[in-house]
Symmetry: C2
Subunit: 255 residues, 2 copies
Amino acid sequence: MKIVFIGAGNVANHLAKALSQRGFEICQIFSRTEASAKSLAEKINTAYTTHLNQLQRDADVYLYAVSDSALPELIEAVHLPDALHVHTSGSTSIDVFKNAEHCGVLYPLQTFSKNKELNFAEIPVFIEAGSETAKDKIYEIARSLTSKLYFMDSEGRRKLHLSAVFACNFVNHLYEIAGELIQETGLDMQVLRPLIEETAEKIKTLSPREAQTGPAARNDRNIMAEHAKLLKDKRQLAALYELISNDIYFVQESR
Amino acid sequence: MKIVFIGAGNVANHLAKALSQRGFEICQIFSRTEASAKSLAEKINTAYTTHLNQLQRDADVYLYAVSDSALPELIEAVHLPDALHVHTSGSTSIDVFKNAEHCGVLYPLQTFSKNKELNFAEIPVFIEAGSETAKDKIYEIARSLTSKLYFMDSEGRRKLHLSAVFACNFVNHLYEIAGELIQETGLDMQVLRPLIEETAEKIKTLSPREAQTGPAARNDRNIMAEHAKLLKDKRQLAALYELISNDIYFVQESR
């Protein structure tokens, strides 16, 4: 199966390397950013281009790993009606492929950073297909990556992505805020590591509701008022603190 | 060193067990809740009481591990001016001890659940003392628990606690929300585990700002509008989504 990658960002890097290792022929990398295209192409020893009109036209699969906002335009521009077209986006519907007969989605539920290795076998992958032929091929690709394989339609995948935004992007932003606050005491945020790890670890055996501790769960208004004072002149952090605290208390009370 | 524990909740359980294992004599557990007092006392083979007037009066240390709101009243009621009095709260000042000559704080930066073992040696502990004698004794206790030992005054400790609320209680609440959302697709929240673990793991080597991905960091307004629609009738979650997304983008832009 010959695969052309459209995109050379974090997802493309991880996916192209993993598929190449598993014996798929990645025959070309396309990206408008030459440095990215070249870098990924070199890593897996293949060709690259920055021009859509130089795209190899005889591949079996065109795999789009680009931002959601770039996706519709690129799909339109590639326009190879006989090939299989697959995107990797959580929030873009399969309908973005419009009239392509063979199309689908392969969505890995993970956060990808360029210089951070990952074990793909651990990553849940969600697939959707627009035809039986597409389904077989996408299944073959995804199955080579992981055994944690699920079929999920576009509506479900959007919810999945929203859930992931809370569990990953938003959690990461709370780490950012916690880091800013702890630096005011002269300490490095690595002091928070045991706490961060235990918080992630606890929900293996307890539901987050059962695992919850702290002033909001106890509805300790004195402590919360002190905390609000400390956050007063820091962007919208006092409002954020209040919103999350109220929701924590609401969830605890609705047990 | 003879220690009486005031309180028998999560912190008291972990601390009393750890200190008992390290050879300290925990001579009594006090808690108004008999079941809690009895349960902890049995675990470390010691006495308990639910009445303050039956408190052993000849201990060297009275260690308070109770909610912040209960702390001032209990300190007042115990009133043994010659002993060392130590609390374990992040957000309560050392001044809560008022006229006690020997007093201080031993604050472990961790989240404690009753039925979840912890390795105390990994936990950072922050201490503060009201006298030199208090300092020596609290240092001796804390040093037996961990090598990650810091001196921190009440003002710094309050910031530390606020930082921990973001990194732990608030992060845990985002897990709760993510779990609610993913259940709507028929999946269990354990599907999020690799994502949750990688999110916590990434910030060992990248700052949260560098590690950030997702629609808010890219300022992808289309996806964010879709997500807002999905959250519309769910408590204040759409407002929470917007507040965090705006702050993510602000932090990314201020690089």
